[in-house]
Symmetry: C3
Subunit: 350 residues, 3 copies
């Protein structure tokens, strides 16, 4: 299943330097690539690795063309990382010929559901009343689409994705296995020491080109919808509370959590394990470091961090113990400063 | 599908001020509600928003009756938030007429299982030997009930809930998609650098009126059972280790974790992402702030917190670096205090 | 379903002191065990509990033989905890007679898949083209095995485990419900404010004797595979990013996360909720405390910690506020030290 460099450049552009018929069997990391493999060099700082690579071909920026061409066939492009991304898509499409779309006889589909003839429905999927599945959508095994859900064109739902009733997923989305869209938000009224359930009457509305990682959960809204805008990328095992809004092209890494009614701007990033408390607002282009906790709204773009620095356990114990005295320490320091100030005044008195 | 204010008050009580035949199409947030929508004002501090709301009807406490009645039809009640909760339940019941219970022909049910005729079993559910499903229970698509599991009356298991063998779920519970009850606890004996599995011979016992969020996991006990008492509310993606006991009416927000053999009291709350280490005891009415880590037992009710304050990254870096010197700082401060003390003594010597 | 002490010792070894025909109905914790139950005492520090136990039989180390034998029948063994682990396995095997392996008629199996006659496939499993399932493997209900996946001998996949295409699971593994192996890693190239997907062309390779907890996710590699070596134990709800490598016999507790391209050594442990950032290396025998964040590579074995100590909320607020001044405090302390130094010099000048 090899491909020639020529076929790659014809499909994706770039300038080819070297034999057009070089055959590529696999894309590979620069450090381990073999003569029948293709690697990329995104940044000049990896240039030294070019000297030793065994790769048969390299994707490089113009600045590295000369050094790379002495070692391998070369595809020159302004943004090698972007080129690699597009090549990975082309490569997968070349190698994973999708079967013709079909509705599996062991799927359970409500008669009122509308499935486009160009959509694919796998075994044991369950599709409720009034559901609409658009052309090119792929509904994996064990997927459940609740009553009135809508799935956009070209969207892939991997096996056992759950889409609750009335929830909407846009076009060209990818939802990985175990994703739960539209479970109830966590809402209760306290009453005499017990919790009275608040039914969650809103839904979830997901834009186009959204990707959602395995076992991630997005709760339906209490009254209005929870909204995920176009181009958002969510990693695995993320919790998105009810009535959250996530702005376009924001990316959130695994294990993160966003509590209810928080609004996150566009083009933000949240590192893995980061948490944003509820009812907050984050501006566009806010970047939260991994495992940091956002406890207040952030109005200015920038990078924000709040994690306890790791240390060997013995040091940590000492510093953590002192931390519980920190405010007292601050007061003691102030007293010391005052004492010095006083002593100084005394001395300088006539 | 509108409902008149009159029908609402007849069902739920409260004092109606305004036209009884006002039709309500939807429950909505105060700030965006339209003339055919109903909103609630839980607290006097939102009173100013009444002046500008477009809502056709408002649920308010007695103190806000007069101001609200000038703007919209009004339902007066002592606890508007509780009223809203109950209204949300009534509203959903009015609009989501459940189908008559039935056992789907594509469910796989062991002949020895006992399914009450008033229970509903959806497509592709798998029900093991000796399982008991009580009246009014709804077993969603792709649910698996292991051998000997018991499901209480009126309990809803959303699609692809897993209930392991011998586990028990009480009455009127709601388990959201992807919940795993009764996977093995994480128990191993170390032996010559490897881990020898300890089979988990206990089960999970869940009380009445418990709600469990999507993809949350509760492990079975090693010898005795893991126990979730009545009225507990768990959000999404929570990990509950083996032999944990969670007291009645405790609520835990998303992404939290409770490690093995810990006991949490009644009427506690854990914020999102909070973690409680293993073999600890938390008293009743202990409240743990989001993302805090409980490393010791807590015997007194109260609010407890331990998170690193978030800051812009440059400031955080400086403070985090200093934190690793904190104990040394404390020692240096002590030396300074001693030096001052000594200097003072010298001066005051005769 | 009781078993005699004699049958236990015949199966598992150890020295029996007391009546061989003592019948054991259940394994139980030391503090609650009854006369027809068996408990273990792993360490001498629990010796005092022997005085009051009602257990009919005890597993003890040689040092406790005499005191234990006065209270109950006794099995003496060098490592009671290991003995208990093995006993739990024997006990479960004795009580859970597995049905003869069979392929359920409602499973969906591609004609090109190769299922060993000694393997078991449950209802509604979906097995793709070219899959290989080895002898003694058990494929639970709703499991999905993607094209070309391989499942080793004796491996148990609990209901609704997902194994992506080309992923490999070794022999004698246990994967709990909801596990997702081989969803796409989280990889995108930024381009004009949007994210361009990098197809994840690698797979996941899991060794022998690996156990993976409920709803845990292990992403497929971008180019090379994500690798989990032999004997690794992962708890529930863990996120393992693409191209991570986890060394043999390492154990990771629930809610933890390991970001992409990180390598963790053998015989390590990560506590619950711990996070390791991407592109790092942890040596063998590194132990990370619960909820700590690893932000740099760790080259030396040892215990490492970084968590904010929990406190009552009022104290925490004061210390957290001071923490944001910590670097400034350090500078102020330095000024104080310099002032004192200067004052001292002045005094000691001739």
């Amino acid at each position: 299943m090899s491909r020639s460099l020529d076929s790659i450049v014809q499909a994706l552009g770039g300038t080819l330097v070297g034999p057009a018929d070089t055959l590529i069997r696999r894309l590979a990391p620069l450090t381990t690539a073999q003569p029948d493999e293709l690697a990329f060099v995104a940044q000049a700082r990896y240039a030294s690795q070019i000297q030793t690579t065994q790769a048969g071909a390299l994707i490089v920026p113009p600045a590295l063309q000369d050094v790379a061409a002495q070692r391998a066939a070369v595809i020159v492009t302004d943004d090698p990382y972007l080129y690699y991304a597009r090549l990975s898509q082309w490569w997968r499409a070349e190698h994973d010929a999708a079967d013709a779309p079909a509705i599996h006889p062991m799927a359970s589909i409500h008669p009122s559901a509308v499935i486009d003839p160009g959509a694919d429905v796998a075994a044991f999927a369950v599709i409720g009343a009034g559901v609409v599945v658009s052309s090119g959508a792929r509904i994996g095994a064990h997927v459940v689409l609740g009553r009135g859900a809508r799935i956009g064109a070209g969207t892939w739902l991997y096996p056992r994705v759950f889409i609750g009733e009335r929830c909407v997923v846009g076009a060209r989305c990818i939802l990985h296995p175990g994703v739960v869209i539209g479970a109830d938000g966590f809402g209760f009224a306290p009453h005499q020491g017990q919790w009275v359930k608040i039914e969650q009457l809103g839904a979830v509305c997901i834009g186009d080109d959204v990707e959602i990682g395995a076992n991630t959960c997005i709760d339906r809204g209490a009254l209005d919808d929870t909204v995920i805008e176009d181009g958002v990328k969510l990693d695995n095992l993320i919790q998105i509370g009810h009535n959250v809004r996530i702005g376009a092209h924001t990316a959130i890494a695994g294990n993160a959590g966003v509590a209810g009614s928080t609004t996150i701007g566009a083009h933000c990033t949240l590192g893995g394990g980061a948490n944003v408390l509820g009812h907050l607002t984050l501006a566009d282009k806010v970047h939260i470091s991994a495992v940091s906790v956002v406890t207040r709204s952030i109005r200015e773009p920038g990078q924000y961090t709040g994690i306890f620095p790791i240390d060997d356990n013995a040091n940590w114990e000492k510093n953590a113990a002192s931390l519980k005295q920190l405010n007292r320490l601050r007061q003691r320091l102030k007293l010391v400063e005052q004492a010095l100030e006083q002593a100084h005044h005394k001395k300088t008195e006539p």
